[in-house]
Structure formats: structure tokens, C-alpha cells
């Protein structure tokens, strides 16, 4: 198999992860307004972003983002840029982990203290994020192979439930004739931003090519539509806004007649626990690589110095995460929305930077 599949896994991971917290909530809040047109717009924009970014970064085979930027930009510009981007990845992981701690406490283990839960997640993630890039990718592939059947099962089971209210879904479809809005588009494009991790993984995937962009478009659209419509089928057009973790409540509403556990919630929780931890690992691996890249010296650093650099970067991320634990439900949500915008702006900015670097390289070659 070629290396392109890793691009697809990265995309799929983000795409499935969007169900977790902010994306469905933002989309469902706009269900009587422009959510559905926003999903369509986001599918087009997301696929364009993904294709353009991958095409551009494939022009620099085997190079990380820092190597690429160094070809065209002065050092003084690169340092703040790298810090900015690594904080973006740090926040991406942080939000996932905070949401998941909250979900764990609410749905599965209300008696456990939040600090114990977050510490155990952080220890696991930090150990995994220290692996080298290829191992992280292999691990991600494995984990996806384990949980993908579970998620597909949950979704199929959700749709075949005779109590699923298709009328509510159709009623929402009649609300689709509204102009798209920025907030929903920003939320929905999150589903496509898995490719963004390529800024680091491009180093280990030199043979990546942009092929079959329609697969990403179709898959992304399907996931977004499911994200949006399934909770409506379970909680109705109006009742749906009352649920905080819409998808976990949906999973709680699905009953499995003949299985070891009766509640779909636990199957779903297991799948999403794995998925979010893998995703945080990938995000923080990227963030850590970006941050430690700044301290690279010409000659190969000793293994010991590398270890300390890695650990201090990850400790910094963990520290920030623990500092953000004080946020309540609504503050966390607002923070998430700000992140959704920031991430989108960051993607656009990164694509522009890459384009500039490519233009510089092109001119040099032809000069």
C-alpha cells in the first residue's frame, strides 16, 4: 500500500472526532438557520484546502514545515510562526482531552476525581507522543482498525432503530434554504482538517500524492450529515438543543438487544476514548515536533538532550491543560468556538505561506 493512506487516516480521525463536542453543538444551534448550507460549503472549502495543501507540501518531499519555511523566510519570522503553530496544536489536543475528561466524569465514572482522570490521560498521551513520527502513524492506523467497526456499528444501529424520527429530520431539511454562516462553516471544516498534521508527517512520508480528492469530499460530507441529522432523529427538532454532549446522549439512547452490554453508550465510549487519545497523541506529537524543532542544532543532538526537550515540551502542554481545567461547561464551549475559528485561520495562513515558499523555490529554479 502506498503512503497516501496515512493522509486518509489522518483525515478520517479528525472527521470522526468532530462528533465529540463542539462541532455538532455549533451546527445544531444553527439548525433552523444556515447549518445545512454551511455543511455543503464547508465540504467544498474543506476539500479545496486539503487538496491545495497536500499538492503544495508534496512539492517539498521529505521536508517538515520548518525546513520549508527556512528556504524562503528569515529566521526571525520563523520562530514566532512556529510558536504560534505549535500552540494551535497544543490547544487542539487540550480541548479534546478536556472534553473527554468531562464526558468520562458525566457518563461513566461520576465518583472519580477529575484530577485522577486527567492525570492518567496525560501520562498515557505524553508517553505515546514521544514515539517517533512513523510509529505514531502506525499506532494510529492500528487503533483506527480496531475502533472503526465499532463506530460503524453504532451508526448503523442508530439508523435502523424504529423509534428514529425521520419526520423530525425531514422537517429540518425543509429549513435548509438559508444562507450559510461563518460559525457553522468554521465548525464544519474541522471535519476536514486532519490533513494539517502533514506539516510534520511530511518528513516521513516523502511519496505522498494528492489523489482521488472526491473520496475525501464524499466521506467528509457523509460524516457531517450523520453528525447533524442523527441527534435530531433521536431528540427531535426542538428537544435536541437541550442536550450538552449530543452524541453521547444519542449513544445512550440506543439499546442493543442481544449483546454483552445493553447500552450502546459503553461501546461508543470505548471507541471514542481510544479515538480521542490517539488524536491527542497525534496532535501533541506534531506540536512537540514543531516546538522542539526550534532548538535544533546543525549536528545531531544527543539522545539525552532530545529526551529532555521532548519531555519539557509535553510537560508544558500538560501544564497548560491542567491550568485550563477550571473552565466550566459554557466557558469551555466558548473557548472551543474560538479555537475552531483560529484553526481555520491558521490553515489558511499556512497554505498561503506554503504557496509563497513554493513561488520562491520556483523562481529560484528558473532564474
Amino acid at each position: 500500500m502506498n503512503q497516501n493512506r496515512y493522509l486518509y487516516w489522518m483525515f478520517l480521525m479528525n472527521s470522526l472526532l468532530n462528533i465529540l463536542n463542539f462541532v455538532p453543538r455549533e451546527l445544531l444551534d444553527a439548525r433552523f438557520k444556515g447549518a445545512q448550507t454551511s455543511i455543503l460549503v464547508a465540504t467544498v472549502l474543506g476539500t479545496v484546502f486539503l487538496s491545495v495543501f497536500t499538492l503544495l507540501i508534496a512539492k517539498f518531499p521529505g521536508k517538515g514545515i520548518q525546513d520549508i519555511l527556512e528556504t524562503a523566510l528569515p529566521k526571525g519570522v520563523i520562530i514566532p510562526l512556529m510558536i504560534m503553530f505549535s500552540s494551535l496544536w497544543c490547544v487542539a489536543g487540550l480541548i479534546t482531552i478536556l472534553s473527554f475528561v468531562d464526558i468520562t466524569l458525566r457518563f461513566v465514572s461520576p465518583d472519580t476525581g477529575p484530577h485522577l482522570v486527567i492525570l492518567s490521560f496525560l501520562v498515557l498521551v505524553c508517553f505515546c507522543a514521544r514515539m517517533d513520527s512513523l510509529s505514531v502513524l502506525y499506532g494510529m492506523e492500528m487503533m483506527l482498525a480496531i475502533i472503526l467497526p465499532l463506530i460503524v456499528y453504532a451508526i448503523v444501529k442508530a439508523l435502523v432503530n424504529p423509534d428514529f424520527s425521520w419526520d423530525s429530520v425531514l422537517q429540518i431539511v425543509t429549513y435548509s434554504a438559508h444562507a450559510p454562516d461563518w460559525k457553522s462553516i468554521a465548525a464544519a471544516t474541522f471535519s476536514f482538517s486532519g490533513y494539517f498534521n502533514m506539516v510534520v508527517f511530511n518528513r516521513v512520508l516523502p511519496k505522498i500524492k494528492m489523489k482521488h480528492s472526491w473520496i475525501f469530499a464524499v466521506n467528509g460530507l457523509a460524516v457531517l450529515l450523520l453528525t447533524f441529522y442523527v441527534p435530531i432523529g433521536y431528540f427531535g427538532t426542538i428537544g435536541v438543543e437541550r442536550h450538552v454532549y449530543t452524541w453521547f446522549s444519542t449513544a445512550d439512547s440506543i439499546r442493543i438487544n442481544t449483546f454483552i452490554v445493553e447500552r450502546m453508550l459503553f461501546v461508543f465510549y470505548f471507541a471514542y476514548l481510544t479515538l480521542s487519545l490517539v488524536s491527542v497523541t497525534v496532535h501533541w506529537h506534531v506540536g512537540k515536533e514543531l516546538l522542539t524543532g526550534l532548538f535544533r542544532s546543525r549536528k545531531q543532538a544527543k539522545a539525552r538532550t532530545k529526551l529532555w526537550r521532548d519531555l519539557s515540551a509535553l510537560a508544558l502542554f500538560s501544564g497548560i491543560t491542567i491550568a485550563f481545567m477550571g473552565l466550566d461547561q459554557y466557558q469551555l464551549n466558548q473557548f472551543g468556538v474560538v479555537f475552531l475559528y483560529a484553526r481555520w485561520a491558521g490553515e489558511l495562513f499556512m497554505i498561503m505561506l506554503l504557496f509563497y515558499c513554493y513561488a520562491v523555490a520556483y523562481r529560484r529554479r528558473n532564474a
Binding site: F32, R106, F107, S109, P110, D111, T112, G113, L116, P162, D163, S165, D167, S168, L170, Q171, V173, T174, Y175, A177, Y234, F235, G236, T237, I238, G239, R242, S249, D252, S253, I254, R255, N257, E262, R263
Partner: protein, 364 residues
């Protein structure tokens, strides 16, 4: 370095206390909750508790009912914590029975509590208890081996598949309660003494309280209209002989047609394939007679369904979600709800019941 980390890890492991998890013999499981109006306070909350037992083969049903009155449900539950020595665990609670007296008032408070609490499932059966929730909890059929299991089996359709039982999970109740153009329903469980219950009626609610109670006959028709492949029998009368046919498969659907002139019509189409189950005379069933049975059965069904629909319409209720269906077919979202309100009083029903009795059973 590595070894140091390893030792530190082992020491830390010893400190973990198993996620503050209480062992199973320190827990007692709540299997059903009954909520009635209190004599002095607003609520009288009763919990049916199952005592965990070790060996499956020697299970002897052990259960306990505790009751407490308070002005809020959570307060009542907290007070009950001091009535039992073990930790109350709600994750296995499968039914909430609301006393009828309370359900003619407002049940939204209870629903809000049940959905908001994180350790109570969303797939929990809501029902109305007659004469009161506590009486239903007290019922202990002799055929039951695990506390409250009979209620769970009956409601889930895993045991008996009665055509008179409609089960309503809390997520569904909440959906229909808030949905515009659909009204919720609740099954009624009647306690008959200490050993039997009867679930054969459903209550139709408006936004939050009981408006109409359907009798068993109507309940069965209601179930026929709301779910596919209802397993039941229907009567057919040809000349002087009474037949009963069993439904092997049944489907029903409806369309709302609003012509520009004239009243809006809801057209129900019911299709049933059946088999003769009972014949009151000694007559041999021939092919022409089989066709007559089908025809007579269809006609009888049509009339009873129309009567049910008219009865529901007279109360201005909408348990089938006609209003919602109207909304799905119209794109004028601002005005469609008002349009429907205006159309509702003029509704006409047309029911076509295509009953096809295909077999006469094992004998002619």
C-alpha cells in the same frame, strides 16, 4: 533513570484506590422508581431496590421498597440514603412509574430530572401507574425471579409480545414533548393486587399532562398504526359467524393531502396479511368465504380506526405527529405551524384497510 521511573510507577500504583469505586457488596441497585404526589409534600418517591446475590442458581427474589416524601425528587433520594446501609446505585434503573394523580398535572419536572441526572439511562421506560406508582412497584408476580424483571420484560417486548403494550423510553418522551406537531404518549400499568399487573392502555398527553386514555381495543389499533408487524388478532363477521384472524404482517402509513379547496384529508393505508385463527361455526372455509372474511375484516377495521382517529381529533391531540408530517412537506417554515392549527379542526380521515386473509389455518 529507567529503573527509577519503574520503581516510582510501582509505588504510585499502590496508591491508586480503584477510582474510588465502591465494591458491588457495598452497593444496592435501584431497579424502578415510583413517583406519586405526597400527602404533605409535593412528591412521594419510592425506590424498588434489588439486593445483589452471589449464586445465580440459588437466586431467591430479594427486594426492598423504600419511600420518602419531599418537595423535590433529589432531596427525597438524598433522604433515602440514610434509610439503607449501602450506596444507592441508579445505573440499572429501568423504569420510572409516575402515579396517575401526578400525571394529570405536569410531568415535565420529573422528565427533566430523569434526563438531567447523569447516572440514569436514557433508555428507561416511562409509564403511568394506576392507582399509584408505589402500587405498581409493590407488584411481585410469582413467575418473577429477579426484582422488577417482569416489568422490564413486558415493556421491552423481549418476553411477552402483547399488542396492547406500548413502551416509551425517556428520550422518546422528551422528544415528543418538545416537538412541535407531535404529542407524547405513555403506557398505563395497572396494579391488580400484589401479584399481578396489567398493561393494556395508553394515555395520550398534550404538552405535559394526560388528556385522554385509550381503552385496550383502541390501544391495539393505535399500536397497529404506529408500528409495523403488530402481532395480534382482529375480528371479522361474515353473516352470522364470527371469525378471528391473526396478523402475520401488518403495515400502515398515511398521507396528508391538502387540496386548495375543501378540507384537508389524512389518508391512512393499512395492509394486513392474515391467517384464520378461530371460527365460531362449524362451516368449512372455502375460497369465496376466505375472501369474504378478508373483506368483512377490512371493513370492520376501517370503521374502528376511523372512530379512533375522530376521537383523538375531538381532543385536538396529535400523538401520530401529523403536524410534524405536515411540516416536512411544506417549506414555508414561519407560517406552517399556524396553517396547521387552522386546518386541524376541519381534518377528514379516509382509511383503507387492505386485509388479505390468505390461509384458513391447519383445517379448512
Amino acid at each position: 533513570m529507567r529503573k527509577l521511573l519503574l520503581y516510582a510507577g510501582i509505588v504510585l500504583l499502590c496508591l491508586t484506590t480503584g477510582c474510588e469505586y465502591k465494591d458491588i457488596d457495598r452497593r444496592i441497585f435501584v431497579v424502578a422508581i415510583g413517583i406519586d404526589p405526597g400527602e404533605e409534600k409535593a412528591f412521594k418517591v419510592s425506590l424498588k431496590l434489588a439486593v445483589p446475590q452471589g449464586e445465580v442458581t440459588k437466586i431467591d427474589e430479594k427486594m426492598l421498597i423504600v419511600t420518602e416524601e419531599s418537595d423535590s425528587i433529589s432531596e427525597a433520594l438524598r433522604l433515602m440514603k440514610s434509610k439503607v446501609e449501602k450506596e444507592l446505585d441508579y445505573v440499572h434503573c429501568k423504569s420510572i412509574v409516575i402515579g396517575e394523580e401526578l400525571a394529570v398535572g405536569d410531568i415535565r419536572h420529573i422528565l427533566d430530572w430523569a434526563v438531567r441526572r447523569r447516572d440514569i439511562q436514557l433508555i428507561l421506560n416511562f409509564a403511568i401507574g394506576r392507582p399509584a406508582g408505589l402500587d405498581v412497584l409493590k407488584v411481585k408476580p410469582p413467575s418473577e425471579r429477579i426484582p422488577s424483571n417482569s416489568l422490564i420484560m413486558a415493556m421491552s417486548g423481549e418476553g411477552t409480545e402483547s399488542p396492547f403494550i406500548a413502551s416509551v423510553y425517556s428520550y422518546k418522551l422528551m422528544r415528543d414533548m418538545y416537538e412541535q406537531g407531535k404529542d407524547p404518549i405513555l403506557p398505563i400499568i395497572e396494579a391488580e393486587g400484589e401479584t399481578r399487573f396489567q398493561i393494556d392502555k395508553i394515555a395520550l398527553l398534550d404538552e405535559h399532562k394526560i388528556q385522554l386514555v385509550l381503552n385496550p381495543e383502541e390501544t391495539r389499533l393505535f399500536n397497529l398504526l404506529t408500528r409495523p408487524n403488530l402481532k395480534t388478532n382482529f375480528p371479522a363477521k361474515v353473516d352470522e359467524s364470527e371469525f378471528q384472524y391473526y396478523t402475520e404482517s401488518s403495515t400502515s402509513n398515511y398521507k396528508i393531502t391538502t387540496a386548495s379547496t375543501g378540507a384537508p384529508v389524512i389518508r391512512y393505508k393499512i395492509k394486513i396479511k392474515g391467517i384464520v385463527e378461530e371460527n365460531s361455526t362449524q362451516e368449512l372455509i372455502t375460497h369465496p368465504l376466505l375472501e369474504k372474511i378478508s373483506e368483512a375484516g377490512g371493513e370492520e377495521l376501517k370503521q374502528s380506526v376511523e372512530a379512533l382517529l375522530e376521537k383523538i381529533k375531538d381532543k385536538r391531540l396529535d400523538p401520530f405527529g401529523w403536524g410534524l408530517r405536515y411540516g416536512t412537506r411544506h417549506w414555508n417554515n414561519e407560517t406552517e405551524a399556524r396553517d396547521w392549527e387552522a386546518l386541524y379542526p376541519d381534518l377528514k380521515f379516509e382509511v383503507t384497510a387492505a386485509v388479505r386473509v390468505k390461509y384458513s389455518g391447519l383445517i379448512k
